[in-house]
C-alpha cells in the first residue's frame, strides 16, 4: 500500500497539475491565487458566472454585479439555499429585470443539496427571501437547460477566462465539475462567499452556505480551482445601516430604489430581532473582493470541509504552516511549507502499520480574506448601487 503522501496523483493534485500544464502551454487556465481579480482596463471585461440563492444580501450582490462595468456576466444560476429554488429563481429573475439586464441568461439550478435535505435561512431572509420586500412576479423566463449544464457550456466556450462567483451553497458548481473531469482545469478562478476560519453562524462550526451542502463544498475545495474565500472572518464586519438606506433612497435609478426597499425591509426584519445594526452584506463582499481585492487582505491556506461531524459538518478548516507572530527564517519557512502534512483525527483502533492520520501534503488551494476595510467596501457598494 502506498502512503497517501507519496505515489500516484490524488484528485486535487491531478487537477492542479493538469491546470498548470494548460497554463504553461497556452496561457489559458486558472490564475495563480495571488492574481485573482477583475481585469480592469486593458484586458477588457471579466467573464463571470454568478451562482446565487437570493437572499437579501444575494440581491444586493446581484445588483452590484450588474452595475459593475468590469464584469461580463455570462449567466446567473440560482440554487436552493437561503430559501427554496421556487423563490431563489424568481428572485434572481426579478433582480435581472430591475437592473434592465434581461440579456443575462438565468438558469435554474439544484432544488436541494447533493445528499442532504435542504435547510433554509428564512429567519434571516424573510419568507420570500427578500426580507419581505415585495416586487412584481417576473415576466422573464429562465433558459431551459439546467444550471450545471449552462455552467459547463460557458466554461468550455471560454477556457481559462471564466471566474465563478458563488454566493450560495455549492451544489450547482459541484455537479458541473463532477460531470466533466476536464472542466476544473478550464476555470480561471472561484470567488466564494462561504466558510469561516473563525467559527460559524448556523452552528458554532459552520457557515451557512457550506453547512447546507458540505459534500458539494468539499468537492469544490478539492477540485484544484484556485479559490478566494470570503467568509465570516470578514463578512461579519459588513453591517448595513439606516444611513446606507438613506443614501440608496436618494438614488434615482430603479436599482437604487429597489436596493433601498430591500434594505429597509431587511433592517426592519433585523431590528425586530433586537439587533442594533445589520444585516451583514456577506455576498456583496465576495463581489467586491473580485472587483477590488485591495479592500481586503488575504492569506493562503489549504482548506478542506468537514463532511462527517455530528456537530461540525460544514466546518471549513484552514491549514497553514504559519504560526501567527512566530516568524521563521526564510529558509525554515520554505521548509515548513514544503514539508507540512495535513492531519486528520487520531486513530480509534490500534495496530495500524501506516498512519491513517496523514491525509495529504500542504499545497495552498485557497486565498482566505482575513481583514477588511469596511468603509471602502461600503463606498464601493452603496456608491455603485446609488449612482
Amino acid at each position: 500500500m502506498s502512503s497517501p503522501l507519496a505515489g500516484p496523483l490524488t484528485r486535487r493534485k491531478f487537477v492542479t497539475s493538469s491546470t498548470a500544464a494548460v497554463f504553461a502551454s497556452s496561457l489559458a487556465g486558472a490564475m495563480p491565487l495571488s492574481q485573482m481579480s477583475a481585469r480592469n482596463g486593458a484586458g477588457g471585461q471579466s467573464r463571470v458566472i454568478i451562482d446565487t440563492d437570493p437572499g437579501v444580501d444575494d440581491a444586493f450582490a446581484l445588483l452590484l454585479a450588474m452595475r459593475s462595468p468590469e464584469l461580463k456576466i455570462e449567466a446567473i444560476t440560482p440554487v436552493a439555499g437561503n430559501v427554496p429554488l421556487e423563490l431563489t429563481l424568481p428572485n434572481a429573475l426579478r433582480m435581472v429585470e430591475i437592473a434592465g439586464r434581461t440579456d443575462i441568461p438565468v438558469a435554474a439550478g439544484a432544488k436541494g443539496p447533493l445528499v442532504r435535505r435542504l435547510v433554509t435561512a428564512t429567519y434571516a431572509h424573510g419568507e420570500n427571501g427578500l426580507g419581505g420586500a415585495v416586487f412584481p412576479e417576473p415576466t422573464t423566463k429562465p433558459v431551459s437547460a439546467p444550471a450545471a449544464q449552462i455552467i459547463r457550456e460557458i466554461i468550455r466556450k471560454y477556457p481559462g477566462e471564466v471566474t465563478l462567483i458563488t454566493i450560495g451553497p455549492l451544489t450547482n458548481i459541484a455537479a458541473a465539475l463532477a460531470s466533466d473531469s476536464d472542466l476544473a482545469g478550464k476555470v480561471r478562478g472561484l470567488v466564494m462567499m462561504g466558510g469561516s476560519l473563525s467559527g460559524g453562524n448556523i452552528t458554532p462550526a459552520a457557515e451557512f452556505n457550506i453547512y447546507v451542502d458540505p459534500e458539494a463544498a468539499r468537492m469544490v475545495f478539492q477540485s484544484g480551482i484556485p479559490i478566494t474565500m470570503v467568509g465570516l472572518d470578514v463578512t461579519r464586519k459588513t453591517a448595513l445601516t439606516e444611513d446606507h438606506v438613506r443614501q440608496l433612497s436618494g438614488g434615482k435609478s430603479p436599482v437604487s430604489q429597489a436596493a433601498a426597499k430591500i434594505a429597509s425591509k431587511a433592517i426592519e426584519h433585523t431590528r425586530a430581532q433586537g439587533f442594533l445594526v445589520g444585516p451583514n452584506m456577506h455576498d456583496s463582499l465576495a463581489l467586491a473582493a473580485f472587483l477590488d481585492p485591495s479592500i481586503l487582505t488575504f492569506e493562503n491556506y489549504y482548506v478542506d470541509v468537514e463532511v462527517n461531524g455530528e456537530l461540525t459538518a460544514g466546518q471549513t478548516l484552514g491549514y497553514s504552516p504559519n504560526q501567527g507572530d512566530l516568524k521563521r527564517t526564510p529558509e525554515m519557512q520554505a521548509k515548513a511549507e514544503s514539508s507540512m502534512v495535513i492531519r486528520g483525527s487520531a486513530p480509534t483502533v490500534a495496530g495500524t502499520k501506516n498512519s491513517p492520520v496523514l491525509r495529504d501534503k500542504y499545497v495552498p488551494n485557497t486565498r482566505v480574506a482575513l481583514q477588511l476595510n469596511s468603509s471602502r467596501f461600503f463606498d464601493l457598494l452603496i456608491g455603485r448601487l446609488s449612482s
Binding site: M1, S2, P4, P8, L9, T10, R11, F14, S18, A110, K111, L114, V115, P146, A148, Q149, R152, T171, A174, A175, A178, S179, D180, S181, E215, R218, M219, V307, N308, G344, P347, T348, V349, T352, K353, N354, S355, P356, R359, D360
Partner: protein, 366 residues
C-alpha cells in the same frame, strides 16, 4: 391503379407497419457502465444489449469504477467497432466519485482492514495469474494504456454522460430504461442536474449492493460492502432516494450463483464472428455480475426468485461507509426510503444458453 400494384403497396405498407411496431416494442435503454476491458463482465454485459434485438440502445455512458473512465471510454468505443455498432453514441461521464477517493479508501484500510478489490484503485499486475484486463496495473486517471484489442477510430460525443441522460429522458418521456452496471455517479449527477430524471425514466435497473451473501463483496466477510456501491456511496444515496417508477437490483447475492466457465467459452470459440473472436481471445472465467442483470431484462424468467425490499446505503465516513442497508417490505421506514425489486435466484441454464446464443450469433445490422 392496377389490382396488382395495390397488393404490392399493401405488402409494403404492412412491412412498414411491422417495422414500426417492432421499433415500438424495443426497449429504449441507456447503458451506464464502468467499462473495464477487454472482455470483462462490464464488456460482456454491454455485448448482450448490443447483440439482442430487444433493445434500442440510445447510448453508452462511462463512469470510473472497475477502471478509470478515460480508459473505459476508449475500450467501449473499440468494442462498438468490433460489434459493428458504431451507431451507438458514447458519452464520457464522471472521472471521480462524488466524495470517495483512492486516498480515503487507503486511510479506511489502515483503520479497518484490507479490501480485496478496489477497481481502478487496485494494482493486480504482480499477482501470479493476471488476465488481460488487469495486466497494466495501476495507472493515473488520465492515462490510457495501449489497447490490446486495438485502438478505436470513433470518438465520444461532446455531451457529458449526465447531460445525455437528462436529454434522453426528456426526449422519450416514460420510455427510457436506465441500466447501471457500475458506480452510480453519472446517474446521481443527472438527478441533481434535473430532478425530473427519476420520474421521466421508465425504470432504473442496476447491478450493485449486497444483502445476505457471505462472499462476492470487496472484503471477504462482508457481502454488504459491494464494489459498485462502495465506490461512490453518496451517488447511491442520491439515486436510491429519488422517486423512480421502478427499481430493479441485481445484487451480489445472485451474482455469486453464476459462473462463466470453460463450457461457455468453448461454445463461443466455435463461432467465428468478431464478437466471438474477441471473447475467445480475452474473456476469463468468473462470475456473471453484469451479464445476469442484462440477460434478465431480455428474459425475465431467468430470475426464479426475487424479493421486494427497501434498499439504501450507509454514507457515514466510518467503518461501514458504503455498506448496503435494507429492510423488509413491511418495515416501518421513513418516507424517503424506496422499495426495489431485488433478484435472488437464477435459472443458470437459461442464462448460459441465452448468453451463448447472443455471443455466437452474426453481428446485428443496424
Amino acid at each position: 391503379m392496377k389490382p396488382g400494384s395495390f397488393a404490392v403497396l399493401l405488402a409494403a405498407f404492412s412491412t412498414l407497419i411491422s417495422t414500426v411496431q417492432l421499433q415500438a416494442q424495443k426497449t429504449k435503454i441507456i447503458l451506464d457502465q464502468d467499462a473495464r476491458g477487454p472482455a470483462t463482465t462490464d464488456m460482456q454485459s454491454l455485448l448482450i444489449f448490443l447483440q439482442s434485438d430487444k433493445f434500442d440502445v440510445l447510448g453508452i455512458t462511462t463512469v470510473s469504477g472497475d477502471q478509470w473512465m478515460k480508459e473505459e471510454t476508449q475500450r467501449t468505443l473499440r468494442l462498438l467497432e468490433i460489434a459493428g455498432r458504431t451507431d451507438v453514441p458514447v458519452a464520457e461521464g464522471a472521472l471521480f466519485p462524488l466524495l470517495n477517493s483512492k486516498e480515503e479508501s487507503e486511510r479506511w484500510e489502515n483503520l479497518y482492514g484490507k479490501l480485496g478489490y478496489k477497481g481502478c484503485w487496485s494494482d493486480f499486475s504482480k499477482r501470479p495469474h493476471v488476465s488481460e484486463a488487469y495486466k497494466a496495473g495501476y495507472h493515473d486517471p488520465m492515462v490510457v494504456p495501449p489497447l490490446v484489442e486495438g485502438e478505436p477510430h470513433i470518438k465520444p460525443i461532446t455531451e457529458s454522460a449526465a447531460e445525455f441522460i437528462v436529454r434522453m429522458v426528456h426526449k422519450y418521456p416514460g420510455e427510457v430504461v436506465i441500466w447501471a452496471g457500475g458506480p452510480m455517479t453519472n446517474i446521481a449527477l443527472a438527478l441533481r442536474l434535473d430532478p425530473e430524471v427519476a420520474t421521466l425514466a421508465k425504470e432504473l435497473v442496476l447491478m450493485g449492493s449486497g444483502m445476505y451473501a457471505d462472499n462476492g463483496g470487496i472484503d471477504r466477510n462482508d457481502g454488504r460492502r459491494e464494489f459498485n456501491w462502495w465506490f461512490d456511496p453518496e451517488a447511491v444515496r442520491i439515486s436510491m432516494r429519488s422517486p423512480w417508477k421502478k427499481i430493479t437490483i441485481t445484487p451480489i447475492d445472485i451474482s455469486v450463483k453464476t459462473n462463466l466457465g470453460k463450457e461457455i467459452h468453448e461454445a463461443i470459440a466455435k463461432a467465428d464472428t468478431p464478437v466471438a473472436q474477441y471473447l475467445t481471445k480475452y474473456s476469463e472465467p468468473g462470475l456473471m455480475w453484469d451479464e445476469l442483470s442484462a440477460a434478465a431484462l431480455i428474459d425475465p424468467s431467468i430470475i426464479t426468485g426475487q424479493k421486494e425490499l427497501y434498499v439504501d446505503i450507509d454514507i457515514d465516513h466510518g467503518p461501514s461507509y458504503g455498506e448496503t442497508l435494507f429492510w423488509g417490505p413491511d418495515a416501518s421506514v421513513p418516507p424517503y426510503e424506496h422499495k426495489a425489486i431485488v433478484q435472488f435466484d437464477v435459472d443458470t441454464k437459461k442464462l448460459y444458453d441465452l448468453y451463448i446464443k447472443l455471443m455466437t450469433q452474426p453481428l446485428r445490422a443496424h
